[in-house]
Subunit: 243 residues, 2 copies
């Protein structure tokens, strides 16, 4: 943890917060927090700042916070991801937040197994702490927005222009010849929406649907990657090109 | 699994192989292998080809293999990685092989905990099947070479010129201004060795040691990433720039 992220509701009007559970234990045992120490802090979706440790108990740490730093920029990349296996998705939440994505749009596709939608990994109680973990790692405060869509066609035809009104839409496709660098050349500083398919790939109908709604194919070479590796790799590549 | 990878010793002179265990179960239950089916196959560190399923039993599948495809190129990126936590390293093996790295050089550093070296995740019996899993995902046959070094200074001063005789050496550093794209411009098609530090970063002595041995700093932006996310992101970025 390189920053401790607090929810607005955890902080009293005079800037005091008592944190418990895993976060308190992490502060004491890993970061060796002790009264008087100063720790980087941030407010979820708000500014960064600092927290002074006022007291350390067995299961609680008292902090006095000042949030006088900037609000980090919203990351410029959004992700449209065919729902991966629950085990893979669980691993992915923190990594996506650490890399920085503005929003995570999860969708069905032909090659997504239906029971993937029943997992608790899709419940905010499960994924929100994992997103916070990733933000704390990366010293960010901007929680990615998450939305879950059970029908790709409805998502793309009816909802996507609201979720991603303007910017560059890209579909990652193993066979595509155009590189991310090529696709983003001369595009200015617009947002990028990256569509990543299921492990078996999008089917023909899905690729046509995406193409009809402005998605351009980009390739990342002939290697087939697992969803989590592909997402991390693609987001990193887009970020590198946008820098 | 997008290719079934066989060890040279598993194949008889007439191209027949009997595979068992998890691989056989995967072939039957996930890939629905049945007699007569044709499957992509490859020989570890050798050519690609095809396997015809001759028989499927409960715990064994008989294959007849022909390896008449090309030997894949050795990936152009090598990794020098400060040994991460065993849990993180375990997750990383398959992802590194899937992304494609020529060799994985693991090393000590000040901020690596000593007990990390005691893990079974460093035993070939543990990591080789994970590397094979990644190669099978990516349809590659070239097993990354792995070496483990308990002293960074000895590695860098005495062993590195043999392990990585020529090419571009880069150190990933959060603060560096030079991008990977910038560092690799006009470098031709030389190999790239990427040094990725421990979660707490390299210390000053280590950074100087690397710099004195030809490593140039490259930044990937201000976000601090976990070792596994950082490795996947950096290798993907280098591959994208080299394409």
């Amino acid at each position: 943890v390189n920053l401790i992220l607090l929810e607005p509701g955890e902080i009293s009007r005079d800037g005091r917060a008592r944190i418990g559970g895993d976060r308190a234990r992490h502060l004491v045992s890993v970061l060796r927090a002790a009264p008087g120490h100063r720790i980087r802090a941030g407010l979820v979706d708000g500014p960064t700042g600092a927290a002074i440790v006022e007291a350390c108990g067995e299961d609680a740490v008292d902090l006095r916070c000042t949030f006088d730093g900037p609000v980090p920029c919203r990351p410029a990349v959004d992700l449209l991801l065919a729902l991966p296996r629950p085990k893979v998705l669980r691993r992915l939440w923190a990594q996506l937040a650490a890399l920085g994505v503005g929003q995570i749009i999860l969708t069905n596709a032909e090659r997504v197994e239906r029971h993937y939608f029943d997992t608790h990994v899709l419940a905010p109680e499960c994924y929100r702490p994992l997103l916070v973990e990733g933000l704390q790692q990366a010293r960010d405060t901007r929680l990615p927005a998450v939305s879950i869509h059970r029908r790709l066609r409805v998502l793309v035809e009816d909802d996507l222009d609201r979720l991603f009104p303007e910017g560059v839409r890209l579909t990652a496709h193993p066979d595509a010849a155009r590189t991310i660098t090529g696709a983003l050349q001369n595009r200015g500083d617009r947002r990028v929406l990256l569509a990543v398919g299921p492990e078996g790939g999008w089917n023909g109908f899905e690729l046509e649907l995406l193409a009809a709604h402005g998605f351009e194919d980009v390739g990342i070479g002939p290697r087939t990657l697992r969803s989590d590796t592909a997402c991390v790799a693609l987001i990193a590549m887009v970020n590198e090109v946008l820098r």
